[in-house]
């Protein structure tokens, strides 16, 4: 199997190399026959997908067949590993995850090449860029990080097993989502570089790119949040975001990608920010590669990082070369990127996008700076420092709150200029609603003057309420207009309104999801925890809950043995649940892991961890966290994903409706297009 795998990867490299070289020659040389050459390059690109796909199939099959003659399978699987995790072996280690990356990239390339008739020349340019990136990853797979390297010496009867932290159902979904996001940003980059290189006339490329970016952004959003949920459910420290360099690596392209999704509207509507958008697309792609470099080079220490290896140098060179190529084309063709319009007022949609982009880029810079500062410090003063959560919280929370304010305000500002009357009409009731939420929270006992974290929590609650109210008011106001035209009820009118402009109203739903995520995060300052050595019958109080240790038990299967605590949860005198926090010992990897038990409600999570036994007394230690509002983060994610999907649905064709005559006044109103004023 190893030979077959190695062969198909070599074949994929040859096909990608041909796709790149032939495609480039066809684009540069304008001699007769270049169209046919370009077509062969496109087909070679399509065929490269088949070869990489076959390589991935061979590796997964080897995992299922426990073929420990392949070194990768020996180190990342074992006989008793459950089947879904054997499948996840593909992305569990350095070499396999690079193969998976290459598979996704060639998959994106396949879709792009199959849709080439949308704009043959632009797609040919994009195809060449994708082929170049594909060549880089296949070079890595063939020469630096070989997934089909054979095991040296005698082949052991069983493998070393999968890292216990990865043996969690979400690990079968989270990495593919994250990788689809990372890899997907290659496509907008390919279109941007192609459009820049060919001085693409008009804005069609940006329309095409925006849809790809939306899809990619949706995947990355899922990946980032599923990662947070995995950390919460598996790592057992009671939190979901630790500002680890690997987490930061996923956040940075998300921030610039989000900035691009907003600023691209300026280019579509007003022909502005063309240069900026080019660099944003490139920056997002570059940060995705930089993130991969961070996790694989060992340059920054992280608990999530892959094993240190020499492939960091390959990535460093790739980053330098891609920056060089993009800068060359930018300098050469920058005159093509002149803005068409002027800014007419500071209180306008345009300026809100400018400040939105400023804040996203600032947040990205802060995360990048914090991630790299330990290395900078080491180089400058020969002393490493830690940049932990306290740094990021101090610097990024004010930025995040300002972004939340813009999330509420921005969509309701008009293009060009917003009048005071319009501001009053749009914001009066949402602002009063947000103010009421703030007053209610203070009355309920939130003291913003006691601690800065409470102040931030109160601000986040008020701003999240402002976002939610502005979104609701937009739907209701638009729905009423349609209802007035058609006589339908409000719910049907809102549905029709959304279908008339899915992008706009899908975007509002995403904003609503963001508000829910903030509601989930703002509970953090109110977290509580307790820890106790608990024997049978011992009790521990935490908030309104009483935890009673009923018993301890043990279980065993081929993969791991586990100690479980049986904890009854009481609220007052009533038992409301039984939790089973676990401590597992994985046989193959000889590693131990806590598996927390979580009782999740909309109000709060009760998070119980069996921390093992006190080495002196032999008594089991139970730690419990009470985390308010956490569920809203995951509800917010679902809302954001729903909004993203709904914004990709094509708009309904505009239709015209006749407004009924006003019988009393005898006024006859002309037919008006539905959704007028969108």
């Amino acid at each position: 199997m190893a030979e077959l795998g190695s062969f198909v990867l070599l074949l994929a490299l040859a096909l990608s190399l041909y796709s790149f070289v032939a495609g480039l020659v066809a684009l540069v040389g304008k001699q007769p026959g270049s169209e046919r050459l370009s077509e062969t390059a496109r087909r070679a690109g399509i065929a490269s997908f088949g070869a990489v796909f076959l390589g991935a199939v061979v590796l997964v099959t080897a995992a299922f067949r426990n073929d420990f003659s392949i070194s990768y399978i020996l180190h990342h699987s074992n006989r008793d590993l459950p089947l879904p995790y054997k499948f996840a072996t593909l992305w569990s280690g350095q070499e396999g995850s690079l193969l998976f990356w290459s598979l996704l990239l060639s998959g994106y390339g396949l879709v792009l090449r199959l849709r080439h008739k949308t704009d043959v020349r632009l797609f040919a340019h994009a195809s060449v860029v994708i082929a170049a990136v594909q060549v880089f990853f296949l070079l890595l797979l063939n020469f630096a990080a070989k997934p089909f390297a054979v095991t040296q010496g005698a082949i052991p009867s069983d493998g070393n097993g999968l890292n216990p932290l990865l043996q969690y159902p979400e690990m079968v979904i989270h990495p593919p989502m994250l990788y689809l996001g990372y890899v997907g940003f290659t496509v907008p980059f390919a279109f941007a570089l192609g459009a820049l290189a060919m001085k693409y006339p008009g804005e069609k490329w940006i329309h095409i790119t925006r849809r790809w970016t939306m899809v990619t952004w949706g995947f990355l959003t899922c990946g980032v949040f599923l990662g947070a949920h995995w950390a919460y459910s598996v790592l057992g420290w009671g939190g979901y975001w630790g500002w680890d360099p690997v987490e930061n690596a996923s956040l940075m392209p998300w921030l610039t990608g989000t900035a691009f999704l907003h600023s691209v509207m300026m280019q579509e509507k007003r022909g502005m920010l063309k240069t900026w958008n080019m660099w944003l697309v490139f920056g997002t792609f570059w940060l995705a590669i930089l993130g991969t470099f961070l996790t694989r080079s060992g340059i920054i220490s992280s608990v999530h990082a892959f094993a240190q290896s020499s492939i960091g140098d390959w990535f460093a060179w790739f980053l330098v070369i891609s920056l060089g190529v993009f800068t060359f084309f930018f300098v050469k063709n920058r005159s093509h990127l002149r803005s068409e319009n002027k800014l007419e007022s500071l209180i306008s949609r345009e300026s809100s996008f400018l400040f939105n982009n400023l804040l996203f880029i600032l947040a990205c810079f802060t995360v990048l700076w914090g991630t790299w500062f330990p290395k900078i410090s080491e180089l400058a003063q020969n002393r490493k420092v830690t940049v932990g959560a306290a740094f990021y919280n101090k610097v990024t929370i004010p930025v995040a709150l300002l972004l939340l304010l813009l999330t509420a305000v921005g969509p309701l500002l008009a293009w060009r200029k917003t009048s005071f009357e319009s501001l009053k009409r749009n914001f009066l009731w949402p602002s009063l609603g947000a103010l009421s939420v703030g007053i209610a929270l203070v009355v309920l006992g939130v003291k913003p003057w006691a601690d800065v974290s409470y102040f931030y929590a109160l601000m986040a609650a008020m701003l999240a309420a402002l976002v939610a109210f502005t979104v609701i008011s937009e739907f209701v106001r638009g729905g009423r207009v349609i209802s007035g035209h058609t006589g339908e009820n409000l719910a049907a009118s809102i549905l029709r309104l959304w279908h008339r402009n899915t992008r706009r109203y899908g975007g509002y739903v995403v904003h609503f999801g963001v508000a829910l995520v903030f509601i989930g995060i703002l509970g953090t300052p109110f977290n509580r925890e307790a820890e106790k050595e608990m024997a049978f019958g011992d009790k521990m109080e935490l908030g309104p809950y009483t935890l009673l240790c009923r018993s301890y038990t043990q279980e065993e299967n081929g993969n791991y043995s586990s100690d479980l605590a049986i904890i009854q949860v009481f609220k007052g005198d009533r038992q409301i649940d039984t939790l089973y926090p676990e401590s597992r010992f994985y046989t193959a990897s000889q590693q131990q892991q806590h598996v927390p038990a979580i009782r999740s409600t909309l109000k709060e999570d009760l998070y119980v961890v069996y921390e093992g036994q006190n080495q002196d007394t032999g008594r089991p230690i139970i730690k419990a966290h009470l985390n308010p509002m956490v569920s809203w983060i995951w509800i917010g994610l679902v809302t954001m994903v729903f909004g993203t999907i709904s914004s990709l649905v094509p708009n309904a064709a505009p239709s015209r409706a006749t407004v009924r005559d006003n019988v009393e006044t005898g006024v006859h109103v002309r037919p008006a297009p539905l959704g007028a004023g969108d």
Partner: protein
């Protein structure tokens, strides 16, 4: 205490109570200090977790470091003294954030510097864009027909739709 007057006995009782209360308050202060300082330090085993939140099984550092922290606070070392002792023992990476001194101050300054620079840049760009000559000609009779009218309609549609 049969030889003490009732007044002296009451005084002793009150003193004892006060000492007890003070000790309890001290104990409370100590645990609050341990909690605060323990959240300013990392576990140095490589798990990348805050010292008091490190929970991984068999950690060879966190238990010892917590004991050292408790001992330092109990013997009355100042906050700075405790942190300095940990830096001397475990290196500068033991602190969760860079100190606000010397070269490390740059870590704190840069994000704010970037914010100020960014705002200045946006203000500059806005200023340049506002001065740019208008793309729409003024003073032309409002009779726009044919292709030009279609172009304006398309522009209006594009700019009013999201």
């Amino acid at each position: 205490m049969p030889f003490l007057s009732p007044y002296a006995r009451r005084l002793h009782l009150i003193s004892a109570l006060l000492v007890g209360v003070l000790l309890l308050l001290g104990a409370g202060d100590d645990s609050a200090r341990i909690d605060r300082l323990g959240h300013q330090m990392m576990c140095v085993c490589g798990c990348n977790q805050i010292l008091l939140e490190c929970n991984h099984v068999g950690c060879s550092y966190s238990t010892r470091m917590r004991d050292e922290l408790t001992a330092a606070v109990t013997r009355g070392d100042s906050d700075n003294g405790v942190l300095q002792w940990f830096i001397q023992t475990y290196g500068t990476t033991v602190l969760t954030v860079p100190t606000n001194r010397g070269f490390n101050r740059i870590a704190w300054i840069m994000p704010y510097l970037a914010l100020v620079t960014g705002i200045a840049l946006v203000v500059f760009v806005v200023g340049v864009w506002k001065k740019r000559p208008s793309a729409i000609r003024v003073g032309i009779p409002a009779t726009v027909r044919g292709v030009e009218l279609d172009r304006f309609r398309e522009q209006a549609r594009r700019e009013t739709e999201l």
